[in-house]
Structure formats: structure tokens, C-alpha cells
Amino acid sequence: MDRNIPDEVLMQQYARGDIGAFEELLARHRRPLFGYICRIVDNRELAEDTFQEVFVRLIHSRARYKQTAKFTTWLYKIAHNACVDALRRESYRKADSLSEPKPMGNGEEMRPQDVVPSMNPGPDEVLAHEQLSETLKECISRLSPEQKEVFVLRQYQNLAFKEIARTVGTSESTVKSRMRYALNNLRAMLIERRVLEGVTL
């Protein structure tokens, strides 16, 4: 498949039944989309389910795609909705499983999150780059959901602020305001973790 064919044309071809066009779209967007979902839901297993869900929704809505919409804006709007649903389901599940304290052998009570080992790898186990990646991921996960989404879509998905506004359903000035808060918060976190040197703003 020609790499120069725009996404929008491929999507139209797929809407007419060309599976090859769908394969090409999947190959082009699988990695950035998965990265976006991983950052937003912050859980690998849930991210895999949500990733599949996004493509299932795309398959079922293929007939409704209009070329007037930019494909990435449409795709990330589907992904945004799928992530919101996944996080909602996950919050119900966590409310069931994490709220009950579990009795320990020594008579103390601990919650499941206290006994589950941390996902952060130790310094001896991973390379420095992976360590840095983990730190960056942790910082992103600490942002508010609104700031996180705007930051990830701009920084990693390369969506313009106007496209982000359409994807998350708000105005461009709100998106920029969230982005500014996100960058300031992330910077403070990086300084706290000694990844960046502090400069008084």
C-alpha cells in the first residue's frame, strides 16, 4: 500500500470494503494510539483491552465516516470515549476490590494496594533510559485527567491545539490553558525528582 495515500482516503476505501486499507491504517496508527491509551488509562492490561475496543468501534462506525473530518481527530475522539468508558468501569471495579481491608497474619489489617508490589523498577534492574521513562510516565500519571489528555495528545500524538479542542469537546483557549498548567506541573515534578534543574519562573 502506498505510504503517501492520506489517512482520510484510506478510511474511505475501507468504508467501501477494502480490508487492505484498514490494515494500512492499523499499521500507521497502532503505536501512537497504544501509547496514548497507555498514558491515559495508566494500566497495561486495560490499555490492551481499550486499544482493541477502539478498533472495534472504528470497524462498526466505518460507514459513518465523513471525509470532512480529519482521520486522526476522529480516531482520537473514539479513543477518548473508549478511555473514558474504560476508566469508569475500572473505577467501579476498584471500588469493589480495594475498599475492603484484608486481615494479615499478625493481626494487622492491610489494603490490597499496600501488599501489591510497586510497578516502578529498581535502579539495578533497568537501564537508565528505562528509568527515566518510568519517571516521566509517573509524572504524567499524576496530572489531572483533563491536563493529562491535552498534554499527551499534543506531545505524543502531535495533534494541533485546534484538533485537540475538537477531540475533547472544548474550546481552543481552554485547551491551551490546560496545556500551560500541565507543563508547569510537570516541570515542578521533574525538578522535585532531579530530572530538571530548577529555574525560578
Binding site: 492499523l26 472544548t170 483557549s173 507543563l183
Partner: protein, 412 residues
């Protein structure tokens, strides 16, 4: 250029979105303003640090499954096109007519019989003479097997009224027609105690409101239920069952009505919640927000009396529907109702923000700011978002010539 304007342009500049003319204006400002220069340097350093993040690779297995699903969907779509081709249509129509005729001629008398037998109230049975009662019972038991004659009932007018009342209530409870088949199964037990609550209401033990709630949760008599109860069991068991139902009805009349009604109220609430969730789910799945029909469903849910504990949530979602359809005034009045009547509602902070958004779309910036500020000062959970909105609104006020579009509706 003011610093507030420069700050928004700095973000565009960092990500290479700035047009050359604005780029020059920004550079000019940066040469004169050390604060903005520092902000630019800080943002560039943060963005550079986060560009080192390695992106995860999705497992190849997922690609395979997705492709399989796509091929399957394509196959199903092509098959359904063939199956509904014009050359099949006459045959399909003929088959549909035959099924309809068989259903009407063969099954309808049975359904009527089983409905009559199912809904015969214990009080009606109790009013009969002993021999007559026995006859009515066995007629009810055999009715389905004989497939024809209607069992004789001692007080037909009372029973007809009762059945008519139940039907009316079912008709009034329109949302129940949208409820999933599983709900019918869940409530089968309740239905097995025949019209106990109907009788209770007729003898004045419970208020009409409560009866309405109960009836809203009662399923419409369905053929599978009647057939399950009468066709699958042996005659003796059926007789026992019918007697047990009478005992159950009597016990309900003696004081267990309240318990059943509590269950009914719970069912009613869960149904109302489903009625709220169903359109939202449907809209999210289709990626095409069908705001009009969703709003209609929420409006219906809000008409139910007495109001459910989910009423504020329903109102909030109704407001969202209006907002997404661009009906700002309607949305605003809904949010104001939440703020006024449901101060304890968990999302009342969000309702303030949404009311502000509506006012902003209506061009009433100072009123919008008032709501945003109340949200910021009184609801810590939405403080960050309120601050963002206040800042964005103030920025827009400073640059009226720039984009002053209403918020996007999100539909493509």
C-alpha cells in the same frame, strides 16, 4: 503585545504551530519581557525532557485479533447485503405472513388463557365457593393443555377491572418496554405472586404513588413466562404451585407487601438508571451523539413520580444533551435547577462549570465568570478546571477579535 497573549503564543511556538507573522510579533515581545522569555525556556526544557519517553508497542496478537474482527465484520456485512437482496424479498414476506398467521390462530387463545389464569387474584379465588374454587383451579391448570376454553371465574367484572388496571399501568410505564429481557427474568418471582399489590391498592393499604412505582416495575405478561409456568410442569405440581401462589398472595396481604414494594422500588430505581444509561451508552458506542432522543429519554425519566434519588444525575445528563445540541438556555435552566434544588449532589461543582459554559456561549461573560468563581471557591474537586476556565475566559475577553466560536459540540 500583552503577556497573556504572548503566553498562548509561546505554546504554539514550542510546538511549531505559530504563523510567521505572529512569530515575529512574539520574538519582539520576548526581547523586551524577561518573564515570558523564562516561561518559553522552561516549557522548551519540559517538552524536551518528555520527548525522551519511550512509547510502548502493542502486542502483535492484538493486531491479529483486530484484523480478524474486521474481516468477520466485512463478511457479515456482505452476507447481509446478499441476504436482503431483492430476489429474497417475496419469499421472506411470505414466510413472515405464515408465521404471523400461525401465531395469531394457534397461540393467541392460549396466551389469553394463561394470562387470565396467571392474573387471577387470590382474593377472587377466595371469594368462590369451595367446589367452584377447585374447578377454577383445575381449569386454570388444564387451560393451557386443552388450549381453548377460558376458565370460569366467579367475579369476572372484578377480575377484568383488575387486569384492565394492570394493563393501563403497564402502558403508562412506557420505559419498561425498553428494558432488557433479563429484567423480566429477574422479576419473574415477583410476578409469580399474582396481582397481590394490585389487590392491596384496591383495599387501600398502600398509597397510589407506591402502587404506581410497583406497577412500573412489573413486567408485561410475556408468552414465555406463561408457558414456562404452565406448560413445563406436571399437572399435580401445577396445582400445588397455584395453591402456593394463593398462599403467597395471602401472606403478602397480611403484611409482606412492604417488603415486595421495597424490592419493586429498588427495581424501579435501577430501571430508571438504565433508562438514563442506555441512550448515553448507545450514543458513545455509535460515536454519533443522538442528543435529541437521549434528552427525550431523560425527560421521560424525570416525569416519573416520585422523583428517584437519581433525579439530579438525570438532570445533569439532560443538561449535557441540551448543551451538546447547542440549546444553551435550556441547558442553563437545568443546571440552575440542580444548583438550586440539589446542593448535596456530587457533581454540583461541575454543574456550576457547565452553567458557566452555557452563559459563555450565550455571550454573558460576567455571569459565566460568576459561576466559575463560585465553583473555584466552593468546590475543591473542580478548582483546577474552574481556574483554567476563568483564565481562558479572561484571555478571550482580552482578544475579542480572535476566535470567539461557541464550544465545539464534538460530533463529526
Amino acid at each position: 503585545m500583552k503577556c497573556s497573549k504572548a503566553r498562548t503564543l509561546i505554546l504554539d511556538h514550542v510546538y511549531g504551530e505559530l504563523k510567521p507573522r505572529l512569530q515575529r510579533a512574539l520574538q519582539k515581545h520576548l526581547q523586551q519581557c524577561s518573564e515570558c522569555s523564562k516561561e518559553l525556556a522552561a516549557h522548551q526544557a519540559t517538552v524536551a525532557a518528555f520527548s525522551k519517553l519511550s512509547i510502548e508497542e502493542p502486542p502483535a496478537e492484538l493486531d491479529r485479533r483486530i484484523l480478524e474482527h474486521a474481516k468477520e465484520a466485512d463478511f457479515r456485512a456482505s452476507r447481509s447485503v446478499k441476504a436482503t437482496g431483492w430476489y429474497w424479498r417475496p419469499a421472506l414476506a411470505a414466510a413472515a405472513v405464515s408465521v404471523l398467521v400461525v401465531t395469531v390462530v394457534y397461540y393467541m387463545p392460549r396466551v389469553r388463557d394463561s394470562r387470565m389464569t396467571m392474573q387471577e387474584s387470590p382474593a377472587v379465588t377466595a371469594m368462590k365457593e369451595p367446589a367452584e374454587r377447585e374447578e377454577a383451579l383445575s381449569a386454570g391448570v388444564k387451560g393451557d393443555a386443552i388450549g381453548g376454553e377460558r376458565p370460569r371465574v366467579a367475579a369476572p367484572s372484578a377480575l377484568e377491572n383488575e387486569v384492565g388496571l394492570m394493563d393501563e399501568r403497564r402502558d403508562a410505564a412506557k420505559p419498561s418496554s425498553q428494558i432488557h429481557e433479563e429484567d423480566y427474568r429477574e422479576q419473574k418471582l415477583m410476578y409469580a405472586a399474582p396481582s397481590a399489590s394490585g389487590e392491596a391498592s384496591s383495599i387501600g393499604r398502600i398509597s397510589p404513588d407506591v402502587t404506581a412505582r410497583e406497577s412500573a416495575s412489573s413486567p408485561a405478561p410475556e408468552l414465555p413466562l406463561a408457558k414456562e409456568t404452565f406448560a413445563r410442569s406436571a399437572p399435580l405440581q401445577e396445582k400445588d404451585e397455584a395453591q402456593q401462589n394463593i398462599v403467597a398472595g395471602a401472606r403478602l396481604q397480611e403484611g409482606l407487601v412492604g417488603m415486595e414494594l421495597e424490592k419493586a422500588a429498588g427495581d424501579w430505581d435501577s430501571k430508571q438508571k438504565k433508562a438514563q444509561e442506555q441512550p448515553a451508552k448507545k450514543a458513545v458506542f455509535s460515536e454519533e451523539l443522538d442528543c435529541e432522543s437521549a434528552a427525550g429519554d431523560y425527560e421521560e425519566a424525570l416525569k416519573l413520580e416520585p422523583p428517584s434519588e437519581h433525579a439530579p444525575e438525570t438532570l445533569y445528563r439532560l443538561g449535557q444533551c441540551y448543551q451538546l445540541s447547542g440549546e444553551w438556555e435550556k441547558a442553563l435552566s437545568v443546571y440552575e435547577q440542580i444548583i438550586q434544588d440539589y446542593a448535596d449532589f456530587a457533581a454540583v461543582g461541575e454543574a456550576h462549570l457547565a452553567a458557566g459554559d452555557c452563559l459563555l456561549a450565550l455571550g454573558k461573560t460576567s455571569d459565566a465568570l460568576h459561576y466559575y468563581e463560585t465553583a473555584r471557591d466552593s468546590y475543591p474537586a473542580v478548582r483546577d478546571v474552574a481556574n483554567e476556565k476563568i483564565e481562558a475566559t479572561l484571555m478571550q475577553q482580552e482578544e475579542p477579535a480572535a476566535e470567539t466560536q461557541p464550544p465545539e459540540t464534538g460530533t463529526e
